[in-house]
């Protein structure tokens, strides 16, 4: 498979070069070459950052900016950055009000992130790790904290980012983040694999007429297969699973993310949103300010996920708050 890079060794660094060159008023490289931070800090606020492997852009690097992340620590392709690199990012942005270190629950991210938080505490920094998990296919109901992070983590990024900007204190931010996480559910489906930029090979194999339900963001195999059919049937099946895991009462305002994994067209994603809106509408669930597009990706993997959040009015206001993160979209919609 053809790929458009210079060399394997330089993939993350070349990408960061391009990002900071494109938006110099908004973002900058930190002292460490793999730390991307805001061009100018908002003084006195709690810092918000995450470390993650690259290859999933625009998440998370593209979400650095005012009203969202203070910094992103960029690991190698699909590999969590080592704890010492995350620690360097923490040193660069953590002030007297402390920092929330977001951790999308995948084994390497948890272990390296928790180690970095511990090392930062040894140095006298106040850092609170916040585990994010939303993928209902990765562990059964009742074992929510064994689940992995998926596209629903975007709710946590945006809502905590806006809240931190208002001067919210560290403990309150962590509590808010936990409530957002616990009010979010995600389920994914994949139709074609992404190609690893490192090996040039597809990350999984799937028969021509089948769809994987519950595919992970690194190409981890799904939990079940279905035959390809009208997308209405697939979306109906996914909504049933999401609502069985966490029921939503009629009349409860709900935010939807339809996230493409890199190889789905906007034409497909909008068709999927049509079926989501029809399915939830039939149950009397009103939908607000959706996010539709490819934000948490796995190269050219063709697939998508549906995430549902039932926000409080305060969460909804933070979700819609203005921001200056270069690759996070503008959200539309008013009223409840």
């Amino acid at each position: 498979m053809k790929k458009l890079f210079n060399s394997k060794d330089r993939m993350p660094d070349d990408m960061i070069d391009g990002f900071v060159a494109a938006f110099p008023d908004l973002v900058a490289r930190g002292h460490h070459p793999r730390v991307v931070r805001r061009a100018s800090a908002s003084p006195g606020k709690v810092a918000l950052l995450i470390g993650n492997g690259c290859g999933h852009e625009p998440i998370a690097m593209g979400f650095v900016g005012r009203g969202l992340l203070d910094a992103n620590v960029v690991g190698d392709v699909f590999a969590a950055p080592p704890p010492d690199m995350i620690l360097q990012g923490l040193r660069e942005v953590t002030g007297p009000n402390g920092a929330v270190l977001l951790i999308s629950r995948h084994e390497g991210d948890v272990i390296n992130g928790m180690s970095a938080a511990m090392m930062a505490a040894d140095e006298g920094l106040t850092v609170r790790p916040l585990w994010m998990y939303d993928d209902i296919s990765s562990a059964p109901k009742g074992h929510e904290d064994d689940r992995r992070g998926a596209a629903g983590t975007i709710f946590v990024y945006k809502i905590l980012g806006a809240a931190a900007e208002t001067g919210m204190a560290l403990d309150d931010l962590v509590a808010l983040g936990e409530t957002v996480r616990d009010s979010t559910r995600t389920l994914a489906a994949a139709v074609n694999p992404g190609i690893s930029p490192l090996t040039g090979k597809p990350m999984f194999a799937l028969p021509e007429d089948e769809i994987y339900i519950g595919m992970g963001v690194h190409g981890e195999p799904g939990v079940g297969r279905r035959k390809v059919g009208p997308v209405r049937d697939l979306v109906g099946f996914m909504l049933d699973a999401l609502l069985a895991d966490r029921p939503i009462a009629p009349g409860t305002p709900t935010i939807v993310i339809v996230n493409g994994m890199g190889g789905c067209t906007m034409m497909e994603l909008l068709t999927i949103y049509r079926e989501v809106a029809a399915g939830l509408g039939a149950q009397g669930i009103p939908l607000l300010s959706p996010l539709i597009g490819s934000f948490s990706t796995t190269q050219e993997m063709a697939g998508f996920s549906i995430s549902l959040l039932t926000p409080t009015p305060r969460m909804l206001a933070f979700w819609r708050a203005p921001h200056a993160a270069p690759l996070f979209p503008v959200l539309f919609g008013e009223g409840v």
Binding site: A79, A80, P82, P83, D84, E107, G108, V110, I111, N112, M114, S115, M118, E220
Partner: protein, 175 residues
């Protein structure tokens, strides 16, 4: 631990590499011996900061976890081996959320930390590693494989036993 001990560990893990990879292949991605050796070689070449060198070279979750064991070996310069192992076991449990009985390297490390000296620590680590065979993994490498690794030793637990046996046999590399 003397700097020479890291070189002794490298020699031992050169011998163990195929065996540890084979153990890991049954429950994970089959590279545990190779990543341990990579980390140990880097640690031996950086006697001032061996734990940092270990996790940088070894990479991944297991590189970070075992770097706390290297830290513990370094700390034996100023405290007892069981005390240093206790600190490492607590940190590893905290960062990974694993407990005794989850079929991880902690099943060798925790019993070793509850002993009085290096010789009994090595024995406890070996029995702990053997005890992982019937366990079903709830954390770590074997969690996602069919049967959760039942019937196979955990490669990380075996590595802990090997490190502590060499430590006991050589007095931490004392000349």
């Amino acid at each position: 631990m003397t700097p020479a001990f890291l070189h002794l560990l490298v020699d031992r893990f050169v011998e163990l590499e195929p065996q540890l990879n084979a153990l890991d292949a049954a429950t994970g991605d089959g590279d545990h011996g190779t990543t341990m050796l990579k980390g140990l070689r880097a640690a031996a070449a950086a006697p001032d900061t061996p734990a940092l060198a270990f996790r940088t070279a070894s990479g991944g979750a297991s590189g970070t976890i075992f770097s706390f064991v290297i830290d513990a070996l370094v700390a034996t310069g100023t405290e007892s081996l069981p005390a240093a192992l206790t600190k490492a076991a607590n940190r590893i449990a905290q960062i990974g959320g694993a407990k005794a009985g989850d079929k991880t390297m902690l099943d060798a490390l925790i019993p070793a930390a509850q002993t009085a000296d290096a010789a009994t620590a090595a024995e406890a680590a070996r029995s702990g590693a053997e005890a992982t065979r019937p366990m079903a993994a709830r954390r770590g490498r074997a969690r996602h494989v069919e049967g959760a690794g039942v019937g196979h030793l955990d490669a990380g637990a075996v590595s802990v036993a090997e490190i502590l046996e060499l430590f006991a046999a050589t007095g931490g590399g004392k000349p």
